[in-house]
Symmetry: C2
Subunit: 478 residues, 2 copies
């Protein structure tokens, strides 16, 4: 017994999988968006031990459909409005077939020149699409969490006098406490990055936000000043373009000015919101980023790219390289001084060939096509917000700069506690119905519904269905 | 302009891609294993700016074939013998089509019960296949580099009295210097993990190896003792089953005993070598791992799984969870106390649905089928080693416990410096020939050729071709 499955099996089962994919994308309404599975259901349906003998791939695909799919929460469903709505798309799916086939590790230029150079080209295309000037270095990672961790590591290495690369941080009485600033509405990934790097949760300073959930530059300046007095060392600030709870936009220009003055590395988290800068009339969301040190945007969020594809842009990539580059003998190559070896810019040695899907998606849709789709998502979100605004007993909970609407059911003569309970009940009822899915946050400590639009197949009817289901659930709950 | 590409385009271009994949896998000899591209060639062949209008997917696929493929170094080629030889396989490729279509983020149980539970099941199947006892928790990551970084973070968190999660490591005079031990032949990922965590390169203690490149337990014990005397705190040791240069196997049982005595977290890096434990007669390579705290093996290395799929096993997952768990309001779910939410065990929030391909591959090949294929790779490597041993002017440079052969051309009356030059010349000549690809390392500071076998489509004829090309190149070089 040796070798791979046969060509016939590849073609036959590959075509069967394609047919399934086509039906799946065409008839999402046949699937409840939120899986109806209960904890343990899927495990119970699967054998506890692996088979000794190989099984026909057709059987495995049948079990995929029967056993696995019912346990899937359908992120790629046009009525998935939770978290940030994302989607993969036909060119992205086909790109992933090819990526899996080539099975390239995009680590050294030599270990695939095309993977490296296409990553340079595709991230540079993206840079242009976002309206960023020249002089940014692009690298893809798996997630914004990783991009941000790398940016924070670069911020730390931007102080070479601390000698953290060589000597580490522990047991060095001469080192000051290192501080990172972000808003109280920033994503948890900033804290996770700080955890990993050994900066410590209590050294992630949560700067106050204004009434529209945007970081207050005066509060940032004051926090930095307090830390300076206390002998702590401010090393990085993370501003967000499109926070997770409300998609608020921190005032990057004012923050950048403070960071420049204070010599603090400014990283901009545009994981969700950044890609809207592809749409000319939304280019302003990246105002001030030209003065930042790094920026992350996620094509796998709002640019129809199958997960994973996060893009990290750096002004001074050499700082990140200094933080992570290690070239053991078995990875030495003759051309290493004349090429980019992406392994030098992060923790991972092996790296997926993500540039292929990014390139295929940009080409298949074109920059105008991508912008049109995203513009439509914003239009739909604003329309939904209008419906909320126009309906008594409902209220918006935050501005709607992008395609995320924060709102709640707020019938008169109910306490905030009652409203919390009602909205939580409404959310679960709607999600359990299976037609649409949405998630929540808390704003001013109040339970808030979130409807996020971003799937390439989302149409007005899906948004209208969400609104109908929400009102039905509210009527039942009240 | 809205929506995804049409069903027809998906089917038509998906089938075209499948046909290309089938030909690619069937006729690898049509592609030079090492790309002949020169630095800058691919960039020069691509437009400097993205297209405004979408282009037919057929055109993009044509350009993939014409422009990108010539720049690919063919990791999935049966005559790719460099680094550690890897491969994807038909069930893995089809799994990735489905993964890209579902586009699930395997972060919370709720955001896809099947992704979470299949990850539990597939990693538990893998645990059984490796002959590990019960009581291990499995999680997939993208790379062994990340798995090891997480293991080291857990080792740090295993000392809660240090309060590193909350307070960090810098500016705390009361903290001791933290030390990590590994052998001088360990992979660079251990140092990268230590860099990221702020432990510092100089605190990764490179323990001496014996004549067969295995960590010396006495040297480990002595290094720990020296650090204790100096007031440094040993926190982790990384032992390797299958080092990168030679695939040597550290004596895990003796190392585990020292680690237990010294209360040092033992992480075993079996990224390449660990999966051979699937073959019953090689199960011994994981002897002693039952006394370790964590283990990484990479199905994307020697188990025919498309990159990425690394599996991290932990005895005390709660320690890793304590290191990284953060649950902001928008990720709170009702069932969070009764399920595994994999986002709690690492830096990344979004996670690929890697379990699907792992499960499909185990089922399609069966544990016996996987073992048979890996056993054959070991047989081929030993046969190649026999050829080297039996040929004057050539010599083995290290034992061959697995499927990696370290060797060199060593004609009589040549100095070591001459031999270095000759072998480097041979390697480049062979690689530039395009029929086979291999890489190198240095052993005892001497340039050493490495031939690694691990591709599912590698047959004896490919190995024989490598040997013939090496001898031809040696004859020309001499």
């Amino acid at each position: 017994m040796s070798g791979d499955l046969s060509r016939d099996e590849l073609i036959e089962q590959g075509r069967a999988a394609l047919d399934w994919i086509a039906s799946y994308l065409e008839r999402p309404q046949e699937y409840p968006v939120l899986s109806r599975s209960r904890p343990g259901d899927i495990r119970a349906a699967l054998p506890a031990s692996p088979p000794a003998e190989g099984e026909p791939l057709a059987d495995v695909l049948r079990d995929f459909e029967r056993t696995i799919v019912p346990g899937i929460t359908h992120w790629n469903h046009p009525a998935f409005f939770g978290y940030f709505a994302t989607s993969s798309s036909v060119p992205g799916i086909i790109a992933e077939m090819l990526t899996a086939t080539l099975d390239v590790k995009a680590m050294l230029w030599k270990t695939s020149p095309a993977a490296t150079e296409l990553e340079q080209v595709a991230t540079d295309w993206l840079r242009q699409m976002l309206g960023l000037g020249e002089g940014w270095f692009g690298i893809t990672t798996d997630t914004a969490s990783m991009s941000t961790m790398l940016a924070l590591a670069a911020a730390r290495e931007a102080r070479p006098e601390l000698a953290i690369r060589e000597r580490g941080m522990a047991g060095r009485p001469e080192l000051p406490v290192l501080r990172v600033y972000t808003s109280s509405h920033a994503h948890s990934s900033i804290e996770k990055g700080a955890l990993a790097l050994g900066i410590g949760l209590e050294n992630v300073v949560k700067v106050d936000v204004d009434a529209e959930f945007r970081m207050r530059p005066d509060a940032l300046a004051a926090a930095i000043a307090r830390d300076r007095v206390a002998g702590r060392l401010p090393i990085a600030c993370v501003a967000t373009v499109g926070t997770t709870s409300t998609s608020s936009i921190d005032p990057v220009p004012a923050i950048a000015e403070i960071c420049r003055r204070e010599q603090v590395w400014l990283h901009v988290d545009g994981a969700y919101g950044g890609t809207i800068a592809i749409v000319p009339e939304f280019r302003y969301v990246l105002d001030g980023v030209s003065d930042a040190d790094s920026l992350v945007v996620n094509p796998h969020k709002w640019m129809f790219t199958p997960f994973d594809c996060s893009a990290l842009f750096l002004k001074r990539p050499e700082v990140l390289k200094r933080a992570f580059s290690l070239v053991p003998e078995y990875l030495v190559t003759r051309e290493q001084d004349e090429v980019v070896n992406y392994m030098d810019y992060g923790v991972q040695l092996g790296r997926r060939f993500r540039a292929l899907k990014l390139w295929m998606i940009i080409r298949a849709f074109g920059t105008d096509g991508l912008a049109d789709r995203m513009r439509e998502h914003v239009r739909l979100a604003r329309e939904f917000a209008d419906w909320v605004r126009a309906t008594s007993d409902w209220e918006l909970m935050a501005p709607v700069p992008f395609s995320l609407v924060c709102f709640r059911y707020a019938p008169p003569n109910t306490s905030d506690a009652d409203r919390d309970r009602l909205n939580e009940e409404i959310m679960h009822a709607v999600n359990e119905g299976g037609d649409v899915f949405l998630s929540h946050t808390k704003l001013h400590d109040r339970f808030t519904l979130r409807l996020a639009i971003g799937n390439i197949r989302t149409e007005e009817r899906h948004v209208a269905l969400a609104w109908a289901k929400l009102r039905e659930a509210a009527a039942r709950a009240a």
